[in-house]
């Protein structure tokens, strides 16, 4: 094992190299570009044996990854914001074609106005595409998640694509110490990609042909839903195996921090979780029973984990770094949805924060925690609140 001080983007590149991705198809976009630049260096130096297609758009990147995967190669790409949303059609195609592509998405805000800073709208808007979604908090988690994502996605009972996300700049461009595992250890953990179906001139088939309403289209989609449900177990199982081999793990689907006896729990995803941990410690020092449940996996949604949490917590504050115009952030809506058919009824409030890369500081988190604590006694004040809007912003 080698320790290197690298950015989150480079952790992605190392992850793809260690996973021995065979076909890379990628297009530059800020703040993702250094992921694919580093891979270009790996390929150019011969450190990485891969076919690298420098496509003319992200839409083509995903289209090429899909057919490369259907031909039998392990594929990787990386993108951000407008690149990810341009891919939308092909994201749905990738899960429909059951291709376990793995992708890094650097979470960036959508224009207009132009913004290259952290915001989760790009990936949250891909909720219904059939992709497994991991939200990372550290560079180590980025590298490890790529390796695990291949193993989960390529399992015969999952066969679905996955992306992991890094907050723009907070993670993509921030240097941290990362353990780079040995190649032979990764090879042993992650065997070669061996899809059950692929293009074969000796055994020709027609892929993706028309299916009438009375035929199998509905069942085809149902099978994807079963596989996505199965991914819940697979993610946990493979992370346990990863821990056994590499000695670390990242919290499964819902990464809980000081939640055991917590009366007030904040649910949040991405790098703001690190800030929240610090503030939770301060509040704990003052005797407040508060905790953090980091939403590490958004799809499949950790329904059971959220329901378990609701048995204990009196107030759940959900922090969304994106907003669905018309009603609340998606993490909030999903959390509330998961709890409607559960007997436990904590107060649930949506805090909309950090839109367009605005800093979520310790004082931002304190403000949220103070408000959430006050709800224990008085009940819900407002269902949805945008935090730290500038004066005149409304």
């Amino acid at each position: 094992m080698v320790k290197k001080v690298i950015t989150g983007n480079y952790a992605s590149s190392y992850g793809a190299k260690l996973a021995k991705a065979q076909v890379i198809a990628a297009y530059p976009i800020t703040p993702q570009t250094s992921v694919v630049e580093k891979i270009a260096e790996f390929v150019a130096s011969g450190e990485m044996e891969a076919q690298y297609i420098k496509v003319e758009s992200e839409h083509s990147a995903m289209a090429a990854c899909i057919t490369a995967s259907q031909t039998g190669a392990r594929t990787f790409t990386a993108t951000s914001a407008h690149g990810l949303t341009l891919m939308h059609e092909m994201l749905i195609w990738a899960s429909g074609a059951r291709t376990p592509v793995v992708m890094t998405n650097v979470n960036r805000a959508m224009a207009p106005p132009w913004s290259v800073w952290a915001d989760h709208l790009d990936s949250v808007a891909q909720r219904d595409t059939g992709w497994i979604q991991y939200y990372c908090e550290s560079n180590q988690e980025v590298l490890d998640t790529i390796i695990m994502a291949y193993k989960v996605g390529e399992s015969r009972d999952v066969l679905l694509p996955s992306f992991l996300t890094l907050d723009a700049f907070y993670l993509s461009h921030t240097y941290e110490t990362v353990d780079i595992p040995e190649q032979d250890e990764v090879d042993e953990f992650l065997p070669r990609f061996d899809p059950p179906y692929k293009f074969d001139v000796e055994d020709p088939h027609l892929f993706g042909s028309l299916s009438f309403p009375h035929q199998f289209y509905m069942e085809w989609r149902y099978q994807i839903s079963l596989s996505m449900a199965k991914a819940r177990e697979k993610i946990l199982e493979i992370e346990a195996e990863f821990k056994k081999t590499f000695g670390r793990s990242h919290g499964g689907l819902l990464d809980e921090y000081r939640c055991d006896d917590a009366e007030v729990v904040l649910i949040a995803a991405g790098t703001m979780a690190s800030t929240i941990r610090e503030v939770i410690d301060q509040y704990r020092d003052n005797g407040e029973k508060v905790g953090l449940a980091r939403l590490r996996v958004f799809r499949p949604f950790p329904v059971n984990e959220v329901r378990e949490l609701a048995k204990r917590a009196k107030v759940i504050g959900v922090l969304d770094r994106s907003y669905s115009f018309g009603y609340g952030g998606a993490f909030f809506a999903e959390t509330a949805g998961a709890l409607y058919n559960s007997p436990d009824e904590p107060v649930i409030k949506n805090y909309v924060v950090g839109i367009g890369g605005r800093d979520v500081t310790p004082s931002t988190v304190s403000g949220i925690l103070d408000n959430a604590l006050s709800l224990k006694e008085k009940g819900l004040d407002r269902e949805i609140e945008w935090i730290e809007l500038k004066e005149g912003g409304d």
Binding site: V55, A63, T67, Q70, V201
Partner: protein, 302 residues
């Protein structure tokens, strides 16, 4: 001239879902005869997405993948890259799209794929409109034609502006081989595809594929009309190899009216439109002759 033999093996087997007299079905039959069974085909949204068969049937004896409308160029890039990564060399990768999927929505992915130089063959089967969706104009529709979105009417709202010259766009990419072909000349078509198969890099073949349904003509006339398109110079047969033009057929020219009058899509055309059509064809033919002379003299001895 040596007599060519058309390969006997049929890789398009009976039972396709195309209309009677479909030029696109004939085109696939001949192209696959030239390429052989070690071929993977990628097809976007177009008539061939349906023609190939409804699940679980297929009319092809080669693997075929359906891909999204605008992605044929990218999808064949991915297949070739994966084959290279897996060390598989002796397989042809064929992109197969209509004029809409090539000249319009798929032009970006195609341009990217050929610019990158992937070892692929791309065939556009051109039936001069969006036929799978029911005859809407594309940039491949000739000037003056009726389609459901250029319905003529009182305002004479036929297709305005010339047909996009996709062959020249491909030639401008400086790819090693570009050619035109049509179903009335199967030996010429097969010869060109066979030549393309032997060239490393991106190859583009534009196949004129009459559509009886969309062109409002008798299904039995597809081959005849395809031949008339060549004989009137409306669709010249030529190839461009490393920048050098070579015209494959120089038939004694018939008046364009002979080609137009068999198709309902042109029946509304006033005489001045027919004259304009004829003039355009003659100009283009003259230009093509000059290109052949010029490029042959320019690159002579290379």
């Amino acid at each position: 001239m040596a007599k060519l033999t058309i390969p006997r093996e049929e890789l398009l087997i009976p039972g396709h879902m195309g209309c009677l007299g479909c030029g696109g079905a004939l085109a696939m039959r001949y192209v696959l005869k030239a390429l052989g069974k070690r071929t993977i085909v990628s097809v976007p949204a177009c008539c061939w997405a349906i023609l190939s068969g409804i699940f679980p049937n297929t009319c092809l004896r080669v693997p075929m993948v359906n891909t999204a409308f605008e992605t044929t160029g990218a999808s064949v890039s991915g297949i070739r890259a994966a084959l290279d990564a897996l060390g598989i060399e002796d397989v042809n990768v064929l992109g197969w799209a209509g004029d809409g999927g090539t000249l319009d929505i798929g032009i970006q992915a195609l341009s990217g794929a050929v610019e990158r130089g992937h070892n692929i063959i791309y065939v556009c089967y051109d039936n001069e409109a969006y036929m799978n969706t029911g005859i809407q104009r594309s940039s491949g529709t000739p000037e003056g034609a009726w389609t459901t979105t250029t319905p003529v009417g009182k305002t004479q709202a036929w297709k305005k502006g010339p047909k996009k010259n996709m062959v020249e766009i491909m030639v401008a990419h400086k790819i090693p081989y570009t050619a035109t072909a049509t179903v009335a000349y199967p030996e010429d078509l097969i010869k060109k595809v066979t030549k393309a198969k032997g060239i490393h890099g991106p190859k583009y073949i534009h196949v004129f594929a009459p559509c009886p349904t969309g062109w409002r003509m008798a299904p039995g006339k597809a081959v005849e009309i395809s031949r008339l398109a060549v004989q009137t110079h409306a669709f010249p047969l030529y190839e461009v190899e490393n920048g050098i033009y070579h015209i494959s057929k120089k038939p004694k020219q018939k008046p364009v009216m002979e080609y137009l009058k068999l198709q309902g899509r042109f029946k509304h055309m006033p005489q001045e439109m027919v004259d304009k059509f004829q003039k355009e064809i003659d100009r283009e033919w003259e230009l093509l002759i000059k290109k052949e002379e010029f490029t042959k003299s320019l690159y002579a001895g290379e």
